[in-house]
């Protein structure tokens, strides 16, 4: 399978990465090189094979469903580019 330029733009948008017109052709070439490399997986008979969900056979650890951490907004916000009154600031999303 290979991707056309329209698909490259669609993937970039889904991935939330802005691309310029100059980016698209080389991205298309690189993505298609990778997709053609993984094409060989179609040779493998995978009928009846379970997809892997956990690489080590272990039961997932569980913990009490309780609050064990928090109450320090200044730590949560200390790396945020823009904040106001202990909130993250984003452009207006609702009219």
């Amino acid at each position: 399978m290979s991707v056309d330029q329209k698909t490259v733009r669609r993937i970039a948008h889904l991935a939330r990465i802005a691309v310029t017109d100059e980016d698209v052709p080389h991205l298309q070439g690189e993505l298609n090189a990778i997709l053609s490399f993984v094409e060989q997986l179609n040779e493998v008979n995978v009928e009846g094979v379970e997809p892997m969900t956990s690489v080590t056979p272990m039961t997932m650890k569980k913990r009490q469903d309780g609050v064990t951490d928090g109450e320090y907004p200044e730590k949560v916000l200390r790396n945020a580019p823009v904040t106001e009154d202990n909130f993250f600031v984003v452009p207006k999303v609702v009219e």
């Binding site: 399978m1 991707v3 698909t7 490259v8 993937i11 970039a12 948008h13 889904l14 991935a15 939330r16 990465i17 802005a18 691309v19 991205l27 690189e30 993505l31 090189a33 990778i34 997709l35 490399f37 993984v38 094409e39 060989q40 997986l41 179609n42 493998v44 995978v46 094979v49 379970e50 997809p51 892997m52 969900t53 956990s54 690489v55 080590t56 272990m58 997932m60 650890k61 913990r63 320090y72 730590k75 200390r78 790396n79 945020a80 580019p81 823009v82 993250f88 984003v90 452009p91 207006k92 999303v93």
Partner: protein, 504 residues
Amino acid sequence: MTELTHLTIAEARDGLKAKNFSATELTKAHIDAIEKARALNAYVLETPEKALAMAKASDERIAKGQAGSLEGIPLGIKDLFCTKDVVSTAGSKILGNFNPAYESTVTQNLWNDGAVMLGKLNMDEFAMGSSNETSAFGPVVSPWRREGSNVSTGPSGAIEGTHLVPGGSSGGSAAAVAAHLCLGATATDTGGSIRQPAAFTGTVGIKPTYGRCSRWGTVAFASSLDQAGPITRTVRDSAIMLRSMSGPDPKDTTCVDLPVPDFEAAVSRGVKGLKIGIPKEYRVDGMSSEIEALWHQGAEWLREAGAEIVEVSLPHTKYALPAYYIVAPAEASSNLARYDGVRYGLRENGRDIVDLYEKSRAAGFGREVKRRIMIGTYVLSAGYYDAYYVRAQKIRTLIKQDFEKVYAEGVHAILTPATPSAAFGIGEKGSGDPVEMYLNDIFTVTVNMAGLPGIAVPAGLDAQGLPLGLQLIGRAFDEETLFATGQVIEDAAGHLALPQPWWA
């Protein structure tokens, strides 16, 4: 007295205990070496004040007889590990001056045992690369040079000539250990990022079994594949460091609740009575005769030490790398969705929220990271999920079953080459076709796909005088056999003479 920077971790530990030198002297010697080696670009951040404060505290604990297992040992930390109040970048611009309010479990374990932090080490951006060329902070220069190479530091102190890459993604870790800029370094391995740079720089690197080290506080790349491990100059040192890094952690549900064995005690166990498998599928087309000869030599060393060598078959080997290039980007596209320009890191303003995301991510991520996020987004997108992602996860099951079958036949460990070649020069690979670079991980990636432990041990030099490594793959949670077997290879190969400091 041997130069303090040339000690092994084991020797430094014994020397500190015997009070032959102090932790402060040991740390100062490394700080001096790092200052003189800036041209190598191994460290992205030096933390000398912190190192000296930690060394002073170590000296006090040593005086009181309260020394931990790594007391006073100066280490470098790959910049993928979050370190409290010390900028952590993952080799990316998108994290900006991210300053964590917390410490990763792995590094906290090291500090609890008394280790000293010298600084943060350069790496491929988000650990995506095999040469350290994708770092936002520039490539790392390998301390190794080809015989007759003209690479040197010019009048300005900058590197001149086509230098070699140290491998990646833990390129700063491997270069710093090989250049004696720390006694050992933390590293991480998603497809070969500990073992390949170790092989390229004549150092030892082990990726433990998935779940041995906590992933908490380590910047995530592909969560089902990522594991931390050490890079050191000897097998024994890797055993010492891994013991400290490992252990259960309530903050990571994929970190196992198993006691950590005394890995160092396993180092001198020998290989008598062990069955070592040689997988025929690793004899790939176009493999260099030097690598092939080294592999034979490795098997011969183990046979002479009392192991039984058997040929084994891992039929799905060739599908591991293509399956990895579906699974790893898929997980990465999901993990890296968090870099949104809102909560931390780089922000580019946009006319609305989507525009802000798209511009911030376009400006913050490098080319390799972008293409992996895009491949991951594509293979997970509607209509392609079954054809790509589910199929790759099925193939992963088959790869794991290959190993299980071989181990069920009584094989204790598997011997393979670590890399298909010695280190290459900067800019030599992957500029046109990304797959050319990916092929570096052909021998290491199977191990991540199956969650098994793997160690790379230096075993010889090629015709250009560059190090080559052998890899041993073990059973799940049996790192001890890898340390025992690795030590036999190290003893037989003899210690490689690491490069003289031509950069200083």
